[in-house]
């Protein structure tokens, strides 16, 4: 099953906030995944002065299909009620409805099947909301966009978002979304002083905190060295 890699790359996050932020990120993303029917195998969050990162392993590629029943009017109910029922449930005619008996009489029942969506599309909806509502103890605005109301607030200026989704053995897909002009992509940046180059992120290499080749470089660990 595919894995998700998320990295939020910013200017230096206050040291006292890093661990909790990583925790919050893991909790918020995984809670949302589960609420969307995407039960995962495991999740791990990381923090360094300039990064919050998260891997979620073993996410199903699609949400399960959802089946719900909806109770409609009684048999013989006025036409307006029947039309309303058909419209609300998307049934073409009453032939498609089931009939259920209970103490009060016979009722039409619609069986609605909602096919599950691709997990990557669901994730693309979840992530920008989490970024916008992230519980930093104190956040700020910056740059030209701060002239407008509704601009993104983050703990310090946010520069890049990496979000990929895919199988460990294959080249992952980028989760397509943007927040306040920042497009999620697959490029990250090395340590400010030790390794400033840009690198491509691959979800399959997340477990290694330091890097040797661009393909295997996911999260350079700058926590230990310097802010």
């Amino acid at each position: 099953m595919p894995d998700l890699l998320l990295e939020l790359f910013s200017e230096e996050i206050p040291a006292r906030m890093q661990a909790k932020a990583a925790d919050d990120l893991r909790r918020m993303v995984t809670d949302k995944l589960v609420a969307e029917g995407l039960v995962y195998e495991g999740a791990k969050a990381f923090a360094t002065p300039r990064r919050l990162a998260l891997t979620v392993r073993g996410i199903p590629a699609r949400q399960p299909d959802l089946k719900t029943e909806r109770r409609g009017p009684k048999i013989g109910a006025p036409d307006a009620a029947v039309q309303g029922f058909l419209k609300a449930t998307g049934l073409k005619s009453l032939d498609e409805a089931k009939i259920q008996k209970d103490a009060k009489g016979d009722f039409y029942i619609a069986l609605i099947e909602k096919p599950g969506r691709a997990a990557i599309d669901v994730i693309a909806e979840i992530l920008p909301v989490i970024i916008r509502t992230f519980p930093w103890p104190k956040s700020m605005r910056w740059g030209a966009r701060s002239a407008k109301s509704g601009s993104l607030a983050w703990v310090r200026p946010l520069h890049a978002v990496t979000a990929t989704f895919g199988l460990e053995t294959e080249e992952p897909d980028v989760v397509k979304f943007s927040v306040d002009g920042i497009e999620a992509a697959q490029t990250t940046y090395g340590h400010r002083f030790m390794r400033p180059a840009r690198s491509r992120c691959a979800v399959s290499r997340i477990t290694r905190p330091s890097c040797s080749t661009p393909r295997s470089c996911s999260i350079p660990s700058d926590a230990r060295i310097r802010s």
Binding site: R141, W142, A144, H159, R226
Partner: protein, 312 residues
């Protein structure tokens, strides 16, 4: 830079150090201003920062500002704390996306190589209760010593910054001490010459530090200072009140925000002197700070109704 004579190189002289910074920021498109001609505790008080940080118009400037902190006087005996020192101030509105990179490049331009020195951005939520201002950013450390302040202004003079300006404040003496490799500010080479021609920071400022420390802590005329505070406050309010006009399309306009703000600067410095003299009690202190903040806020409000400060 190769064409620079030796005595002007940033690692040789304090004056060369300042010129290197000015040149670097001029190359980034900043207006290079001269110091404001009033006593103030920090470069942030210069109207080029306080007032220009407000309103939507872009503004990029850099300047040296002599900073007077009467309480920081040490009679010339402390190696790096002075009651009069120089700040180098940069303000960029809106804050550019690469401001941190520019800061690090500016350090390289004055001879501080980030690969050799331990440069850190350490959380510091900046707040000026007298200016009604706050922002988020860092103190910048070089090998463990605070050498700059880096702030994204969120609010100044009680007005929300839209867009946000980035402010950099360098403590020039402390940085120059690194670059020249001296342990005492007074040992800094000021003019980059050697032998009989050499002038040190101590030659220029040691006596002043001793005299002003005496003045700030022991002799400053407190009766006069109380009176000056009162007068500055009153004048500020008077200028603010007289400056309002009904402009075109029923818009309110202000025509004297700058002279009013000068009086706010004055009040703030006089308060700092009184504070150093120890004649203000803890409870009075809060009320004095509040009085200066009220002036600052009223000046900010006036400024955003001026030609330069208002939305287009």
């Amino acid at each position: 830079m190769d064409a620079l004579p030796d005595h002007m190189r940033p690692e040789r002289s304090f004056q060369g150090f300042i010129l290197a910074l000015q040149r670097f920021w001029a190359e980034q498109g900043c207006v290079i201003l001269q110091p404001y001609d009033m006593e103030m505790g920090a470069g942030t008080f210069h109207p080029a920062t306080t007032l220009r940080a407000l309103g939507p118009k872009p503004w990029n400037a850099a300047y040296v500002q002599p900073s007077r902190r009467p309480k920081d006087g040490r009679y010339g005996e402390n190696p790096n704390r002075l009651q009069h020192y120089y700040q180098f101030q940069v303000i960029m509105k809106p804050s550019p996306p690469n401001l941190q990179e520019l800061y690090l490049k500016s350090l390289a331009a004055i001879g501080i190589d980030a690969a050799v020195h331990d440069i850190r951005f350490v959380e510091d939520d900046w707040e000026s209760p007298t200016l009604g201002a706050w922002g988020l950013g860092w103190e910048c450390w070089c090998d463990g010593m605070e050498v700059s302040q880096f702030t994204y202004f969120q609010q100044v003079a009680g007005v929300e910054c839209a867009p946000v300006a980035g402010e950099l404040t360098y403590g020039l003496e402390r940085l120059a001490m690194y670059v020249q490799g001296v342990d005492r500010v007074y040992d800094l080479n000021f003019n980059g010459r050697e032998g009989a021609e050499k002038v040190t920071y101590g030659d220029v400022f040691l006596q002043a530090e001793q005299e002003y420390s005496r003045h700030n802590f022991e002799y400053a005329d407190t009766a006069m200072l109380f009176e000056q505070f009162r007068m500055a406050e009153e004048a500020c309010r008077k200028y603010l009140a007289s400056g309002w006009r009904e402009g075109g399309n029923q818009k309110k306009e202000h025509l004297m925000a700058l002279p009013a703000y000068d009086q706010c600067i004055k009040a703030s410095h006089v308060f700092n002197l009184l504070d150093a003299r120890g004649v203000i009690s803890v409870t009075e202190r809060q009320s004095y700070i509040g009085r200066v903040r009220d002036l600052a806020k009223a000046c900010g409000e006036a400024w955003i109704h001026t030609e330069t400060g208002r939305a287009v």
